[in-house]
Amino acid sequence: MIKFQMPNLGADMEAGTLVEWRKQPGEFLNRGDIIADVETQKGLIEIEVFDEGTLETLLVKEGEKVPVGTVLALINDGKGEAKVSEIPSGEIQKPEVHPIEDRIEKPELQSTERIKISPLARKIAEANRVDISLLKGTGPEGSIVKEDVEKAISEGKKPIQQTEKEIGERKETSEKPSGPAYDAIRMAVAAAMSKSNREIPHYYLEKRMDMSKAMDWMKEANKERPVQKRLLPVALLIKAVAKALDEVPDLNATWENGLQRKNEINIGFVVSLRSGGIVVPAILQADSKTVDEIMETINDIIPRARAFKLRSSELSQSTFTITSIGEGGADKVFGLIYPPQVGIVGFGEISEQPFAEDGMLGIRPVVDVTLAADHRATDGLIGSRFLAALNKHLQNPEQL
């Protein structure tokens, strides 16, 4: 018997609301099937199952909000013993214990911390449907007290938890992209970035890269394609980063009780929302996808990210992050690492610049690339190796 748990879909997630069960008891589940929809701060997420077996019992009702790690359902895999469902690279798994490193560094696993709130404040919050996960406590030990809840209510912000009825209503009009409140995304970004800036000692490297070969190659490639199949430079950049990570695997990792290298290269790609905030869906196994496949994935994933319709694996499994926010006009972007990852690459705008090579000066499209990396996990040498590898791949676009 497998215990299927509420997955952790990001460093900042503490709880999720089970909106809809997509499978019913008795149904057979295959690996990768979507078992449920869960509402989080980052929107409505389709939760995949990573085991095979018959869905035995549903333990959480639709509309219920439960903490990460709560057992949601039992799946019968034909074995008697109950075990916890294995979620690849999920953060709820306890990292292996390394006694020596333990003594050096014990990062908090914030995601499983209970919210401290006074009984009275909880009662008031429930009566007024205030989402306490978004409040900042001012009471003893940082607990949320009555005053904090009342302040949230009086400021009219009250991040409302959806009742079953409201969720029902929303389902009927599910054509409209319905997302979490702007506040909720803002708070999610705030929590993750504060944690990053507080806990991760970043180091920064930057390198200007000649994009003329890559752009020429892409122009040629696009000539033969119908408009629907055309490539964007970002697809090339993602593929080049994936290949560079393959060569420098220490950056494709997390820092949890020491460096934990990841087997798959799943590139988180920062998608800005027009209403403000960001969502970072993962392009899974980017190293083994062709540039065309990456472009297809982008075409699929960006609209879904903006409509808050991502799958759990796309939100929880990225192993490295890319931001190309520079295309809006900034020459350079210096990123903040998304914990517990250990690196983020920032691409500035691709623009024509004077570029010297072999004693000759020419005008070429160039891009300024930055790497922010976790100095606990790697040193500058690893970082510069990565940038060199990335540059090498961008100079050989036909081999991407």
């Binding site: 122009k219 408009v227 629907q228 027009r274 209403s275 295309e327 006009g329």
Partner: protein
């Protein structure tokens, strides 16, 4: 298709990409992407949508002619009405 109809279609598609903006307030010479904050992905989506809607072929080397409202409308008019 009249110039006015093309303009209406362009505005509709821009509005879908950037719902909080009002494309009809674009200045003729303004850079559309900069004015409406459209990233490369959405720009490509716009080109795809306009190609499908107006049934025209827009090769990549012509992207330069789609930058401002004025040049875009002139370009599309030529493509549609010859």
């Amino acid at each position: 298709m009249t110039e006015e109809e093309i303009k209406k279609t362009v505005f509709q598609l821009l509005q879908r990409i950037a719902p909080e903006t009002d494309p009809s307030r674009l200045m003729p010479e303004e850079n559309i992407r900069e004015a409406l904050n459209i990233d490369s992905f959405d720009a490509l989506q716009f080109i795809v949508a306009i190609s499908e809607k107006l049934n025209v072929e827009i090769p990549e080397e012509d992207y330069g002619k789609t930058i401002s409202l004025k040049s875009l409308l002139a370009y599309l008019d030529k493509k549609v009405n010859g």
